[in-house]
């Protein structure tokens, strides 16, 4: 690649110089000296801990918990940086949130980087800094990992996979099969922010205000719910598919119907604007720091009080109820007061023509 700085190259040598200071070359993925150097200089400096420093094939974990939670997720977001977050923050919070909604305290993460040849070092460093900051917030250690560099075009700049292990200390939410009629549905904050932010960043829409991703750690509010014996029947972070997908899944799993009230659902003005203009529904937009939970009616007030003490969930709101199964799995009450079927989109939401 012409952009790669080669002024220090030895003529005829196929391996780019290790003094290549601007961009990552394939040689850094070959497992040799350059790979080790990248890990030493860029990974260990940021994520140093006893397990990772061993650089073994696997990290050895010690725990007193009788039950562990294990989760994995791949992150391929474009663009890598967007208002409110970036792929690194997403990779840490995404996987640790998955553990937290499953009732676990996230402890250990693996970090696998697939880097496209030619990615500027400055981009990688910025993402790694973000991972470091997010891991500190989530109180998780990166204990094992992998790096690959693939030829130009074989990946889109940077893909990250994180797997996480968490410890179950309190009884975990039993899950959507345990839902009962009259359970109350709560969202932890305004919905659709991440999906709207990514759409605007990807398409370079210049909305004012520009939507910000909600990318955040949900561990603290969830752990305090479990510790206060306010464990909900089910919790899901409403990522891809949005809050609508969570409700559809819960209705399917429980054989009940979820009924929500559109006017009760918190939506940021910027997100509403994007949705109104493009003919999209915030219920279908991804979230990265917002969960849906179902809890028995008698726990609703304490649950809301507790959630509102945490900045990330201080706009938590009741959005609906679980009811005995009706003709349709998910119903939404809009302005006129009639229950209407909530649409489940096929594929990604496509903007309407007019």
């Amino acid at each position: 690649m012409s952009q790669i700085s080669r002024q220090d190259d030895v003529p005829g040598c196929p391996i780019p110089s290790e003094n290549d200071r601007e961009r990552i070359t394939l040689a850094y993925g070959e497992g040799g000296r350059l790979s080790r150097r990248m890990i030493r200089e860029r990974i260990l400096t940021r994520f140093s801990n006893d397990q990772l420093n061993q650089l073994g094939d696997a990290a050895l974990l010690t725990t007193d918990s009788r039950q562990l939670a294990f989760s994995t997720d791949g992150y391929t977001v474009t663009p890598l940086f967007f208002p409110g977050g970036d792929i690194g923050k997403l990779a840490v919070f995404g996987t640790s949130n998955d553990l937290a909604v499953s009732g676990a305290i996230p402890r250990w993460l693996s970090l696998s980087l697939i880097i496209e040849e030619g990615l500027p070092w400055s981009v990688l460093d910025r993402v790694l800094d973000s991972i470091q900051a997010a891991a500190a917030v989530a109180k998780v250690s990166i204990v094992t990992g992998d790096t690959k560099v693939v030829p130009h075009g074989a990946a889109d700049k940077l893909f990250i996979t994180t797997s996480g292990v968490g410890e179950i200390r309190e009884p975990a939410p039993p899950g959507p099969r345990s839902l009962q009629p009259d359970d109350v549905l709560i969202v932890s904050g305004p919905i659709g922010c991440h999906g709207a932010a990514i759409l605007c960043a990807r398409e370079k829409f210049d909305f004012d205000p520009l939507p910000n991703s909600d990318c955040a750690s949900l561990i603290q509010p969830l752990i305090s719910l479990y510790a206060a014996r306010l464990t909900p029947r089910a919790v899901r972070d409403a990522t891809r598919g949005g809050a609508a997908a969570v409700l559809q899944e819960w209705a399917d799993a429980s054989g009940l119907t979820c009924i929500i009230n559109e006017s009760a659902i918190p939506v940021a003005d910027g997100v509403r604007g994007v949705c109104e203009l493009l003919g999209l529904d915030p219920l279908n937009f991804a979230n990265e720091g917002t969960f849906v939970l179902a809890t028995p009616p008698e726990l609703v007030e304490s649950t809301l009080n507790l959630l509102r003490q945490h900045a990330v969930t201080n706009q938590a709101a009741v959005i609906g109820r679980v009811k005995p199964r009706q003709n349709n799995p998910v119903l939404v009450v809009r302005g006129i007061g009639r229950e209407v079927v909530l649409d489940e989109p096929s594929g990604s939401p496509l903007p309407r023509i007019c």
Binding site: E203, F205, G255, S263, D269, R272, G273, E276, L278, G279, R325, Q326, N327, N328, R334, G335, I336, G337, R338, E339, V340, V341, D343, S346, G347, L350, P351, R352, I353, C354
Partner: protein, 366 residues
Amino acid sequence: MKFVDEYRDPTRLKIQLAELRKMITRRWVIMDVCGGQTHGLLRHGIEQELEDVLDLVHGPGCPVCVTPAEAIDDAVELANRPDVIMTSFGDMLRVPGRRGSLLQARARGADIRIVYSPADSVQLAVREPEKQVIFFAVGFESTAPATALAVLQARQLGLKNFSLLANHVRVEPAMRAVMQLPGNRIQGMLAAGHVCTVTGYAHYSEFVNQFRVPVVVTGFEPMDLLAGLTRSVQLLESGEPQLCNEYSRSAQPEGNLHAQRLIDEVYCVATVPWRGFREIADGGLVMRPALQDFDARSRFGLAEALLSSDGECRSGDVMTGRIKPIECPLFGNACTPETPVGAPMVSSEGACSAYFRYARPIEVRT
């Protein structure tokens, strides 16, 4: 949110709905012409709320739905050429032609991109001088000014690599075609508010005189839709076929003259094929011969599309109000939003899709 919340206010909606119901003495048959109105009526539960007293029929006003399969075949064929970047609006990509949809062509490697404005395609052509950028232009008079502007921009920039595959259609001739169908039952029409914003609505007085049905220019929010229906019922009950405007915050009698001039500069009126009608006299807009350098059909030597049969799909009957979507034998069985047979199941504005999304009864699991 301003301009939205006041038109969705539950208290006002309920009052308006009660007033409307009080007025109705007969089961009037009223057609909404625009897909956006169909969507709004079902999404907000207005149609379901009124189904015992009014017969609401959904007309041919979804631009995606009326685009003939042959036009999509043309788009797919052009998109498959190695030097072409095909661009279009999002929901156009899912519409099946006879040889698959643009989305399927993209999965097979064609370079097809969703844009949010035809001007984005012009910019793409500037950035990619080695490629031929085509905008697959569909829509009524409400989208035509934007595609016309794109052509004029491309001409001003001297671009040799931008063209339109234009399939614009016109609302009023389609409304006439519906009224002239054998067995037509339509007693009142809600005219499409956004198209009227561009074209004006004064010319509908001739339509009202000819067919003796009230035409009410109507918007898209729940309050707009109820206002349009209320006015229509009022005119029907008093036996006064008149032209009224219930969308005055946007539509004016003379319309947007600047937008009309843009359309006129780039397009001329022509008789074109329509899904469900075979063809409609003066039903479309084709590019003026002087601009043939920007006309993809002329640049790439495509023949004019000829219509073939839609098979068992009864989308024509749906769009012309002869049947409700659920009366089609394919609805919900062979034809769903995931596997659409006819275009009205594809676009979120299509009548079949709107029925599937918001009104479909599904089996109760026990």
